[in-house]
Symmetry: C3
Subunit: 208 residues, 3 copies
């Protein structure tokens, strides 16, 4: 299997996983079947869509609607499975971390090929990785989880995107640097959850 | 009157109605005149704008600002009329259902002509029909109404968009299939309100 | 210093100020360093980004990532300074009003040069001026401040954008009309804060 084929299928898996988390969240807000499905679609496709708009590319799921079909099917299955099987959210932490790693690396790589300058390219990776989850939380009227203390969610994405760019600047091969960045994001996110690693939170000194 | 002329004017009416619902909602949040007007504009033009961005078309109200003028005028009138006349929200259920039907069908039709594949084209219709209301609810910091149980709002839009695509695939004429899809969306939405038809809501089995 | 050079540097200053207000707001929501930085970036670059997407221009911070570097640096500095020095939000009212004036005028001017019709061009100015703040409030799950009674925020932007367009239609030179519109927005915003000028708020008559 070529690397492109591999990335394509892992990308599809990431879309499906994001759709699952979208439905599970929407369910807590008394949405009906179609409402939950639309939140799932926005979660699964939102990040890549914003990236494509910013890069002025054709939107990926308009060009190849297989992504959309996978998102809808993933959401639909979850909707019905969750009625008979308990699906505790922590079941999805590992596939979700894989999705974050993959989306971020694909987004960064694409921006680099599009000749976007390095810091902007790393932000494209972060956008691809986290905007879906941000949209999900906004549509469900929550403060976006990805920004909160104690998750290292956006943090893992941004550091991984920068790592990818540094490795490629050092002439590491595209494939090797992609694997290194994906592993880094995946590991940092899971270590953060397991060992409760946190970044400093904002703390404002008030006038006495 | 040609079909294009008819659609143009009904489209304008839908823009005006959406602007009205935007102002009425914004009013409940202590917004001032211009704040409420901007929410009205976002409600009236948001769906078509996102559709045009996704299809990489010129944004419709930038090309023909009559839409924008109608949205501003509709919002302004409502702002002042609501001070002297009671405008109960249920007054707007019927024009709102007409707007949903029209926006959805126009959006789907446009995407089909743009050679967007079928499922993605139906989603463009849904986006055109509901994103305005979603923006309104996000700007007012509510959970978007269109996704909630018991409204069949997004549901009517999605089923109607799929109906339009099926009819055209069966070689029904564009005009006849447009009328059928619009009537379907309008009727389903009003029947859902009248008879409290609901789709299954998400219900998660928890571990015992 | 040429006018273009002046506008470029004042634009950078406005980006930095917006990043500061983004971090200060995000801080109240228990976001960590990277989360707060991303909110700062969205606040600083959001308005111009939406304007560029609507006009189908290349997104400004993708073309020249200096804007992005300034936003990140501004957010980072604020994050650490706020831990040792009290930074009361009213410290930022004057630079924020400058930012609003500048972003609005730059956005309107750009739209006029892009041959956007007048009312749509004024809305582009408003979007450039206020969308960053709206994004900040949505990401922090608040009702957007810019729409609320008693701020005259969006109001100052819209009236200033219209003033710019009227002056140019009257053949006032571009530079003079830009200064007039910026001064107007800046003054109206500060006078509104100082003297609590308000527009009429929405008030709905209810059925007796």
């Amino acid at each position: 299997m070529s690397v492109d084929t591999l990335l394509y299928w892992v990308g599809m898996a990431a879309v499906a996983v994001n759709a699952v988390t979208g439905v599970l969240d929407a369910g807590r807000k008394q949405m009906d079947l179609i409402g939950a499905l639309l939140v799932a679609v926005a979660t699964a496709l939102g990040g890549g869509t914003v990236r494509d708009l910013l890069l002025d590319r054709n939107v990926f799921w308009v060009v190849d609607q297989t992504y959309l079909i996978v998102a809808v099917a993933g959401g639909l299955l979850t909707f019905f499975i969750a009625r008979t099987l308990p699906l505790p959210p922590r079941l999805f932490l590992i596939p979700d971390a894989i999705g974050l790693a993959l989306f971020t690396v694909v987004g960064t790589q694409l921006a680099v090929q599009w000749h976007v300058p390095w810091l902007a390219a790393s932000l494209m990776g972060v956008i691809t990785g986290v905007v879906g989850g941000v949209l999900r939380d906004i549509l469900c009227n929550d403060v976006p989880l990805v920004f909160l203390k104690g998750e290292l969610y956006a943090t893992a994405a941004w550091l991984g995107a920068l790592l990818l760019i540094v490795l490629q600047a050092l002439n590491v091969s595209p494939v090797a640097s992609a694997w290194a960045a994906m592993s880094f994001i995946f590991a940092l996110r899971l270590l953060a959850i397991r060992f409760r690693i946190t970044l400093p939170a904002f703390r404002q000194r008030t006038e006495d």
